[in-house]
């Protein structure tokens, strides 16, 4: 059962990482680790800023 649970967790974490679902969590932990004291962006502000950055360059091919 434990092995099954561990496999599910790994799959779930992988899906979240691939889809970008965990982007905000990773941003918070990065901010906490490297720039402690900086006020973090809110969830929505972070999401908007990320989209804006991502779609200003070629990130989809033919």
């Amino acid at each position: 059962m434990n092995a099954l649970q561990a496999a599910w967790r790994l799959l779930w974490a992988g899906l979240r990482g691939l889809s970008g679902d965990d982007a905000y969590d990773r941003y918070l932990s990065h901010l906490h680790a490297c720039h402690a004291g900086t006020a973090p962006l809110g969830r929505r502000a972070f999401y908007e800023a990320e989209l804006d950055r991502r779609w200003k360059q070629v990130n989809r091919c033919c």
Binding site: D21, Y24, H30, L31, G42, R44, K56, C61
Partner: protein, 685 residues
């Protein structure tokens, strides 16, 4: 220890033997049909061998990848674009970025030569050229703070190289968007089911966009799950629309109306905020794309369909009905994306290198993703080749080539040696929930029929129409994403260029500038789309080779940059690794461009076609409908001819410039400027 090495040697020998037998089996087989599993085995073994040995050698000897060297993601970590990320996640992101409609459409069109040429070039091209390009560009960019291809070109080849890379990128995007838009328009024309399903994807994406921004910001998984359920509902609802006489008429649109709709849509989508339409649809299309690729692989392995296309067809001589041109060089132009794609160099320099946590990950991400992309192309080739060859040609050949009525079309195709009956085509169309499947050029409908055939047989008979329209929706959804995203990126490039003429036009958030630049980009691809739609020969026969040449040219620019870097960074003896594919690409692109410019055959040469049409128009030989569009087609053929001339000049200027720079360095006349970021030891554990 010795035991382990022996086991590994035995395993790799077995893979090599299996792969060689499968490739040999495919190449030498001359029967009625051949099992598709042979292709899967040949492909997987070839990629494994290429990955294990060639990419391993490149990583260790050529690039000298160093796991102790801190990557830009670590050194410049800002928690946003620069961020060390686990390699399997980077692999997923990179693959999702490079895998588009190209590797699905190219092999479908190239199947007119038979299954063998396409299969061999997809395997050889990917292992020796495409994967190598992606890996080396990723490596060079990772060693240079994740710089873009244009930036690398400016550093290595000077300002002209950078301008050529920029111009090439903009050009290839315009042609790419036109050709992909044409594919969607052709798939939707007079197909209420497809049209209503594709239209429904727009409000669905908006619902998902609102959910992601306002209701549950950034919860991509939840929003994607909702969106996918809605999309599947839209596919089923399309069947209902199709069966309802009054509602059906609303969505029964001709290609011209759809072309105008797609152009207007591209403009609106490009100026709307990304969160509303572009980003949510991209989340949906990425999930569906990965899901379909995975399902198709399983279905092919479970069902093991028979490939009915012959190994080689008579059309290798250049008389093909889907696109003109002999096997050499047009196979290599048509199959662009699954074997080598210059566009990948833009993702491999820019987004991906900023996420690489360890330099050694470059091998898996760069080489591995491209091998997987090539595998997608092999599956698309299988899907095209499991169709009866007669059916394949009936779907993919324009009415202008084989005749508009079913009896003439089937008689012409049967006379080519690919028997097909009108009854067979009617039954197939009815099974797929379509009125007709004749002359549905562009590759999407025949791929959808092939996929419906494979999925329907593997996962339940009787749902063919649903699978067919699911496949059309699947292609349309990421083609529309490319249209929005491409128009947006094109807009930034145009704004950048306009800004140097008059600074206010360079402000990316100033509305007049946004509007002007977006209109310019949409007008660019919209023009080619519109001409493609009114062309009685289908349009794809002109646009796809133009796209293929532009794409291979961009790959040549990328490989020229890498070769220059190699020569200047003490890797002269390995310069052939990027240099050999570069020489091949320059040869292929030049021969193709030369034929397109100088050929006297109106089916082949752009200028010859313009002259031929002008003569026929002057002599009054054209029907009234054809005469009405002839002046536009003549101008377009001439424009395409001149664009090809420009392409040829750009490629050769870049190559000569690169060779001159390398010679100056080798002969000691000019010392190399080290463009690599200095070594910093990694702190990652």
């Amino acid at each position: 220890m010795a035991n382990g090495r022996l086991m590994r040697a035995v395993a790799w020998t077995a893979i090599a033997v299996a792969g060689a037998s499968a490739v040999g089996g495919i190449a030498l087989h001359r029967g009625e049909s051949i099992n598709a599993l042979w292709f899967v085995v040949a492909a997987v073994c070839t990629y494994l061998i290429g990955y294990r040995f060639y990419s391993g050698w490149i990583a260790a000897r050529v690039c000298r990848l160093d796991a102790t060297r801190a990557t830009p993601a670590e050194r410049l970590d800002n928690g946003r674009d620069f961020m060390p990320t686990h390699r399997s996640i980077v692999f997923g992101h990179h693959f999702a970025a490079i895998a588009g409609a190209g590797p699905l459409i190219g092999p479908t069109l190239a199947a007119q030569f038979g299954y063998l040429p396409g299969t061999l070039w997809l395997l050889v091209g990917a292992v020796l050229a495409g994967c190598v390009q992606d890996m080396l560009v990723l490596f060079c960019s990772t060693r240079r703070d994740g710089r873009s291809l244009a930036h690398l070109a400016r550093d290595e080849l000077g300002r002209f190289g950078a301008s050529a890379a920029m111009l090439g990128t903009l050009f290839i995007m315009i042609i790419l968007m036109a050709v992909l838009a044409l594919v969607v328009v052709k798939a939707m024309a007079h197909s209420p089911w497809s049209t209503s399903t594709v239209f429904a994807t727009i409000p669905i994406a908006i619902v998902v966009g609102i959910y992601l921004r306002h209701l549950r910001p950034g919860r991509v998984m939840e929003a994607t799950a909702i969106g996918i359920v809605l999309l599947l509902g839209a596919v089923a609802a399309g069947g209902w629309v199709d069966s309802h006489p009054a509602i059906r008429a609303w969505f029964d649109l001709d290609a011209r109306a759809l072309a105008w709709f797609v152009i207007a849509y591209g403009f609106v989508a490009a100026i709307l905020p990304v969160w509303l339409l572009l980003a949510p649809r991209d989340y949906l299309s990425t999930f569906i794309k990965l899901g379909v690729v995975f399902l198709l692989a399983i279905a092919i392995c479970v069902l093991q369909p028979d490939v009915r296309m012959p190994a080689l067809t008579r059309f290798i001589d250049g008389t093909g009905p889907i696109f003109s041109g002999a096997l050499f060089p047009f196979l290599f132009i048509t199959l662009a994306c699954g074997a080598i794609s210059g566009f990948h160099a833009l993702v491999a320099s820019g987004t991906t290198p900023k996420l690489i946590a360890r330099e050694t990950d470059v091998r898996m991400v760069g080489y591995g993703s491209m091998a997987l992309e090539s595998f997608v192309a092999i599956m698309a080739l299988i899907a095209a080749c499991v169709l009866d060859p007669g059916v394949y040609f009936a779907i993919n050949t324009a009415a202008g080539v084989v005749g508009a009525d079913p009896a003439t079309a089937t008689a012409t195709i049967t006379a080519w040696g690919f028997p097909v009956e009108p009854v067979q085509m009617e039954a197939l169309a009815a099974r797929m929930g379509e009125v007709t499947l004749y002359g549905r050029t562009g590759g999407a409908p025949s791929l959808a029929v092939g996929m419906a055939h494979i999925f329907g047989s593997a996962f339940g008979e009787g749902l063919f129409a649903i699978w067919y329209h699911f496949a059309i929706m699947f292609e349309a959804i990421f083609i529309l994403t490319v249209l929005d995203a491409g128009t947006r990126v094109g807009r930034f490039m145009v704004q950048d260029a306009l800004g140097s003429l008059w600074p206010p036009l360079g402000q990316t958030s100033w509305y007049p500038s946004v509007w002007i630049a977006s209109i310019l980009v949409c007008a660019g691809w919209g023009y080619f789309l519109y001409i493609g739609v009114i062309d009685p020969n289908g349009g794809i026969n002109i646009l796809w080779p133009l796209f293929g040449m532009a794409n291979q040219m961009l790959a040549a620019i990328a490989l020229a940059v890498v070769t220059a870097i190699f020569v200047k960074s003490g890797r002269l003896r390995y310069a052939w690794v990027p240099g050999a594919p570069l020489a091949w690409l320059v040869t292929v692109t030049s021969v193709a461009a030369w034929q397109k410019i100088t050929s006297d055959d109106p089916r082949m040469g752009f200028f010859a076609a313009a002259r031929d049409l002008a003569d026929k128009l002057a002599a009054g030989l054209l029907s009234p409908e054809r005469a009405a569009v002839a002046p536009k087609l003549i101008v377009n053929q001439q424009l395409d001819g001149w664009l090809t001339v420009v392409l040829l000049i750009i490629v050769w200027t870049i190559v000569i410039d690169m060779a001159r720079g390398c010679w100056q360095h080798v002969s000691g006349r000019r010392p190399a400027r080290d463009t690599e970021a200095p070594y910093v030891a990694t702190q990652l554990t």
